[in-house]
């Protein structure tokens, strides 16, 4: 072992393609499962949430308008860069989740593979979920899935990387932009993922990662009129109900949380893609 003193990383938010501190100036201590200090994470405020929504909305047009092939390549690029950072992710997951290095590495591998899996979905969704509609008249009818818009994601509290990737990647693969509130106690892989995103062709604002407390920021996102959908994965039951109720005010699409955090290694199928896709049906006459 070298006796070199390490250069520590300052963990900040990932917002609009940049890494700002919380506008509130707040941070909170992050510990490993044995209580050792790991880092000070930025403690995002509701105003950071607001700024993140603005950034996500601004990025939506370009991201949703990109070709599915292009989106797929960008997302695949994310997996490539994640692979290069696997050691760092493993260290953070091991410390944050109290796993052995081998188990942490397995979780990181699963997360990268999950990302690749979703990267491959971008240009299949229209074929799998869309249709041509044989209407009873002289019209050509077809239906296409389109992204819902800006999705607020409350990331799982326990699975800090695989869980996070499992909820974030489908939102992006479907063409949405995201405002993510990370696991409160295990936020570090989220910010490292932000660094991956920043260096892998994902346009700024497509993903905005906030570290902090879902219970604090969640209600603002649930009520925000410019958020189209919310994934409650990381919200505990009483909070989830409150947020779903708030989301009703603007007819948000709500993906409810499972009663207990699921096994994120299981095949998710389309269960996390469908909720953030709209179907657009188009009619055009057939004539000469």
């Amino acid at each position: 072992m070298s006796d070199r003193l390490t250069v520590r990383k300052t963990y900040k938010l990932y917002l609009g393609g940049a890494f700002p501190r919380s506008e509130s100036g707040r941070t909170y201590e992050v510990h490993d499962t044995r209580g050792h200090f790991l880092a000070n994470a930025a403690w995002a405020s509701r105003k950071d949430g607001r700024d993140a929504v603005v950034a996500a909305r601004a990025a939506f047009g370009k991201w949703s308008g990109a070709t599915a092939y292009n989106r797929g390549q960008v997302l695949y690029r994310v997996a490539e860069v994640m692979e290069g950072r696997a050691a760092q992710f493993t260290e953070e997951v091991a410390a944050g989740e109290g796993l052995s290095t081998a188990k942490a590495r397995a979780a990181v591998d699963a997360a990268i593979d999950r990302w690749v899996w979703y990267a491959g979905w971008t240009d299949k969704l229209a074929a799998v979920l869309g249709s041509t509609n044989p209407v009873a008249g002289p019209y050509f009818g077809f239906s296409v899935p389109e992204p819902t818009g800006v999705v607020a994601v409350l990331a799982p509290q326990r699975s800090s990387l695989l869980g996070l990737v499992s909820v974030l990647a489908p939102v992006l693969a479907a063409g949405n932009t995201a405002v993510v509130v990370s696991s409160k106690e295990r936020p570090l892989p989220a910010i490292t993922l932000g660094e991956v995103l920043a260096t892998s062709d994902v346009p700024g604002g497509v993903v905005n990662l906030l570290t902090g407390d879902a219970a604090e920021i969640g209600p603002w996102l649930a009520e925000h009129a410019d958020v189209d959908a919310i994934d409650l994965a990381g919200a505990p039951a009483p909070l989830a109900m409150e947020l779903e109720r708030s989301a009703a005010g603007t007819i948000k699409r709500v993906l409810r949380a499972a009663t207990d955090e699921p096994d994120w290694t299981a095949d998710p199928g389309l269960s996390r893609l469908r909720p953030f896709l709209e179907t657009k049906s188009v009619w055009h006459p057939i004539g000469v």
Partner: protein, 480 residues
């Protein structure tokens, strides 16, 4: 328009349908008394009371849900899917056989022209049952995994604008996917749903598979908040949709909402003008504008604004407003005094806010609820008539100069149900279609519906789809 060729009255015969003096609830295969205070349903064209209809109380709803649960567990759930399909085919055929009765009853209770109930509402309702009947034994091919399961009991609340058709949109997919139903028709238009109950009896549909509980808002609330309802489907106003989403929050109930709209109908300068004018008329005056996807915001390219508005006004001058039972009527009665008051209130805003109101000449009947086809020009996007859903025969005309401006204005609404585009240029249609945030886009047509075409909104127009393969997802549980 002309005094030379006046069409003599051509009334559809009312005698084809027997309206009973009073109706009970349809629970567990039988008509039973309701325990709430009955309500009267009136013909909005004459204000004549048509019948007295039971009001379902919380206990009545509970009885209906229990019947639905029993049917789900004992008969409908375990039934061979092909047999479920056969029941739906039967229902489709029975609707076709008794189409004229349904059309007359719908027009009497709702106020819509007999031409529309005859040519649109009833045939489409039958088509929805026919379409979904075929799905019943093919659900493993619906793209929802190898063995999608029904949810259980569906509580469904429907509006008054297309009473039978909305029933079909709700009941057909629910039954095809193996669910059972408690349906609450709209308070002002319960009669075709009750006639549909007779169809269920004629089809020998097992008791409890379809239960119809009439009543007003309280009854609807009881349906959606009943703890043993697994699935809630609602079509109606965005305001009520919000309260339902709130009520369902924190439960296991699945929810789909089909809510309001303020659709843009965009006319480019290269549009087929005569057909565009027809489409504008169809877009806003179909069903008196009581259509959630009505093309209530006309966006016309500035260079053709005057021409389009002049053509539109000439065309509106030929619309025949009056007795809904007359086969030549184009525009019938407003469904209720309450709705008429709301239309009047919003149009009054239009004038005070500075828009120019135009209505054709002609008299309206003395009795009943009526509103003339109305066009507002000089409308600004900030005006309430450009933003609020009027749900009546009122069109707001605005202009644009470029495709980008058209799209920006079209999307500048909290709704996202439908939109129209008129242009002869294919690539422009596809580009604009892609940019519009709306669940249904009609290009060079408007207000077309089909059971194979998924229907539903973006944004605050709701979520979930009705119709097509996509519509089945609302009633099935699947692993994928």
């Amino acid at each position: 328009m002309t005094s030379l060729f006046e069409y003599a009255p051509a009334p559809e015969s009312r005698s084809i349908v027997d309206i009973r003096p009073s109706y009970g609830l349809f629970v567990d295969g039988e008509f039973v008394d309701g325990t709430g205070t009955p309500l009267k349903t009136v013909n909005p064209a004459t204000e004549e009371v048509l019948s007295e209809v039971a009001t379902g109380s919380e206990e009545d709803v509970d009885r209906a849900v229990r019947a639905a649960r029993r049917a789900f567990v004992k008969t409908w759930g375990p039934m061979r899917p092909a047999d479920r399909g056969k029941y739906l085919f039967r229902i489709a055929r029975l609707l076709q056989e008794r189409a004229r009765e349904f059309a007359v009853l719908e027009t009497l209770d709702n106020g819509k022209p007999i031409r529309e109930s005859r040519d649109v509402d009833v045939p489409l309702a039958a088509a929805h049952f026919f379409y979904h009947a075929g799905w019943a034994d093919k659900l493993e091919h619906a793209g929802l995994g190898p063995a999608p399961c029904p949810l259980g009991v569906a509580g469904q609340v429907i509006p008054w604008n297309f009473p039978l058709l909305m029933l079909a949109w709700k009941v057909a997919p629910a039954l095809a996917t193996g669910n059972t139903v408690v349906l609450k028709p709209a308070e002002t238009t319960p009669l075709t749903a009750l006639l549909f109950a007779e169809i269920c009896q004629q089809a020998d549909l097992p008791p409890g598979v379809v239960n119809i509980v009439t009543g007003a808002g309280e009854t609807g609330r009881a349906v959606i908040s009943h703890p043993d309802v697994d699935k809630v489907a609602f079509t109606g106003s965005t305001e009520v949709g919000r309260s339902i989403a709130r009520a369902v929050a924190g439960t296991e109930k699945r929810l789909t909402l089909e809510l309001g709209g303020k659709a843009a109908n965009i006319v480019f300068d290269d549009a087929p003008i005569d057909q565009a004018v027809e489409g504008i008329v169809r877009g806003i005056f179909f069903n008196q504008g009581h259509v959630c996807c009505a093309g209530s915001r006309l966006l016309v390219q500035e260079s053709v604004h005057d021409e389009v508005v002049a053509s539109l006004q000439r065309r509106i001058g030929t619309l025949r407003v009056g007795d809904p039972m007359d086969k030549n009527t184009d525009l019938g009665a407003i469904n209720s005094a309450e709705q008429l008051a709301r239309i009047r209130e919003l149009t009054a805003f239009g004038e005070t806010e500075g828009a120019t109101c135009w209505q054709p000449d002609g008299d309206l009947p003395d009795r009943g609820f009526w509103f003339k086809p109305t066009v507002f020009t000089d409308v600004s996007p900030a005006h309430r008539i450009a933003r609020d859903e009027v749900f009546g025969p009122v069109l707001s005309v605005m202009t644009f100069r470029t495709p980008d401006e058209a799209v920006a204005k079209a999307n500048n609404t909290t709704y996202g149900l439908s939109a129209g585009i008129w242009s002869e240029k294919g690539s422009r249609i596809l580009k604009v279609t892609d940019q519009l945030r709306a669940g249904v886009v009609w290009a060079n047509t408007f207000n077309e519906f089909d059971p194979t075409s998924p229907f539903g909104g973006y944004k605050q127009s709701g979520y979930g789809r009705e119709g097509g393969r996509q519509g089945l997802a609302a009633y099935l549980r699947s692993d994928s």
